[in-house]
């Protein structure tokens, strides 16, 4: 359903990805793992059309996304939760959600649905996003992306720097979205967070996808973790 084929890209002269391929199906959580600087976040930015591809294709339901102007990519149904959340910090919670809704012309129904998923946010609608706690900011970033009713959800280290109870809430929402039929690409550093929810895991190293495995292949296989993550 969603496919990345042999993508080469980078920042200006500096090439970061040297041929990454990936296939994600609906109702599937696909994890990307790898060391810092391996190119995981770069791949997500490339999907969003924010980095020009030197080579390769990105396809959603057989339709090419690469080469589209960056603002049209989300309109095709790609929801993006970037690293570090990157909310519109000086806008209110309600306005951040509105930005998400406007992307694909979603209305009150989607808004209610999203606020049902994150009841904490509905108590803070008029609060400025930058003043929320870390966990609430992550909820808002996720809610904003879900407002698109996306086909594909990109999550870049959503649990980074959060306390365990928040991590659990985010995890539950991700699992729920899988049940709704979303294709989910999850970038994650912590192997224990991945094993319980991932359907497949792709290890990325030096800008290439090295191996795609099932979680059961990783559990108890220390060698593969040492090789790609150094843990």
């Amino acid at each position: 359903m969603f496919e990345v084929r042999n993508v080469h890209t980078g920042y200006g002269q500096v090439q970061v990805l040297f041929g990454v391929s990936l296939t994600v199906n609906a109702a599937e959580i696909h994890c990307l793992m790898g060391r810092n600087g391996a190119g995981k976040s770069t791949l997500l930015k490339a999907v969003m059309g924010q980095l020009p591809l030197k080579q390769g294709e990105i396809l959603l339901d057989g339709e090419r996304l690469d080469g589209l102007p960056a603002h049209l990519v989300p309109k095709r149904g790609i929801g993006y939760v970037p690293q570090g959340r990157r909310l519109f910090k000086e806008l209110t919670v309600s306005e951040n959600i509105e930005m998400g809704l406007m992307t694909r012309g979603e209305g009150a129904q989607t808004r209610d649905w999203v606020l049902d998923l994150f009841p904490r946010l509905s108590e803070r609608l008029d609060q400025v996003a930058g003043t929320l706690s870390g966990g609430e900011q992550q909820m808002l970033a996720t809610a904003r992306a879900l407002c698109l009713r996306p086909k594909v959800l990109l999550l870049d280290e959503p649990t980074e720097g959060l306390q365990p109870s928040m991590i659990e809430q985010i995890r539950q929402v991700v699992v729920k979205m899988k049940a709704e039929g979303y294709a989910i690409i999850l970038v994650e550093q912590r192997i224990d967070a991945v094993l319980s929810i991932a359907d497949r895991i792709t290890f990325i190293e030096n800008g290439k996808d090295r191996e795609t495995v099932l979680p059961s292949d990783v559990a108890g296989n220390g060698a593969i973790l040492t090789k790609y993550l150094g843990v």
Binding site: A70, V73, P74, R86, F88, K89, E90, M99, R144
Partner: protein, 308 residues
């Protein structure tokens, strides 16, 4: 005239200067805030507004108010469209690079200025105000007969100047409503805060930039249409508004709209009052000195935030 009435007269002059300045500076501030572009050609859009206002009012015969209302509507849109064209043709091509946009807008400044000189000529041309009644203003004093109202000779204001002040307030109010209450305002604020994320949520950033650049220039042009009945249209008239707008934007805090309004009032009022009591040159000297002091002691400006 006594000091009191004299001060009142000077304050009214200051309020008119503030009114024009707040529109011009707001345009500069929005462009900088959203696009991070320092628009050196801003004063030329102001000048274009004045020259076009002359052209429109001359073309339309009949009552002066007819031509003036036409100018008030047509000119800001026209200048805004020209500015949006400049954005698409030039600023977009250099990718809004901070240094290069400064050089590019200096180029735009000379192109606009010299084209105006060639097509419009070096003359200063007046525009007739749509209405211009002189209102005498009262003053109060305690004399031998106790509290009484007097009408000092020379203490007066024209209806047109009051209209300028009122118009500026209305435009500011409308701008505030657009920015805070409408979708396009929301999109502009989101783009201002994070260009990449705005794009990731479907905002056509290129079009928003053109719109903002046009809006900024349109505000300057609107200020100019309001000012031509008081001050004549001339191809070099863009210099002072540019300098003052920069002063206002720096004192107010780069990109802060409330700061811009406060600083415009401060600079406009002091410019008016000092010009009446001392000299216009001293007013400019003091304003420039204020900028230096702000930059030394509060580099982020009155309402600016320190970059996180």
């Amino acid at each position: 005239m006594d000091f009191g009435p004299h001060l009142m007269l000077a304050s009214l002059e200051g309020a008119v200067i503030s009114a024009i300045l707040v529109l011009t500076a707001m345009g500069l501030s929005i462009v900088f805030g959203v696009m991070r572009v320092v628009n050196v050609a801003h004063g030329e859009f102001f000048m274009l507004g004045a020259v076009f206002a002359w052209a429109v009012t001359t073309m339309i015969s009949g009552h002066a108010a007819l031509g003036f209302v036409a100018a008030l509507i047509i000119v800001p849109v026209l200048v805004g469209a020209i500015a949006a064209g400049v954005d698409q043709l030039i600023l977009k091509r250099i990718d809004y690079d901070v240094d290069r946009t400064i050089v590019a807008t200096i180029g735009v400044l000379y192109i606009v200025q010299q084209s105006t000189l060639m097509l419009y000529g070096p003359e200063a041309r007046p525009v007739e105000p749509p209405f211009n009644l002189r209102l005498a203003l009262p003053w109060f004093e305690f004399g031998e007969n106790g509290f009484q109202m007097i009408w000092p000779w020379g203490l007066s204001v024209t209806t047109y100047k009051l209209f300028v002040i009122g118009a500026a307030i209305v435009v500011l109010g409308a701008l505030w409503l657009v920015l805070t209450r409408t979708k396009i305002g929301l999109v502009m604020r989101a783009t201002q805060q994070d260009r990449d994320m705005a794009q990731a949520f479907g905002v056509p950033v290129g079009q928003v930039y053109s719109l903002v650049f046009g809006l900024g220039a349109g505000l300057a042009a609107l200020g100019a249409v309001l000012v031509v009945p008081i001050q004549q249209a001339h191809y070099l008239m863009g210099g002072d508004p540019l300098l003052l707008a920069f002063i206002v934007v720096i004192i107010g805090g780069l990109g802060s709209l409330p700061g811009t309004v406060i600083a415009a009032l401060l600079i406009g009022m002091s410019d008016g009052i000092i010009s009446v009591f001392f000299s216009p040159t001293l007013a400019k000297i003091i304003a420039t000195f204020l900028v230096a002091m702000v930059l030394v002691f509060r580099p982020q400006g009155l309402m600016g935030r320190v970059a996180a």
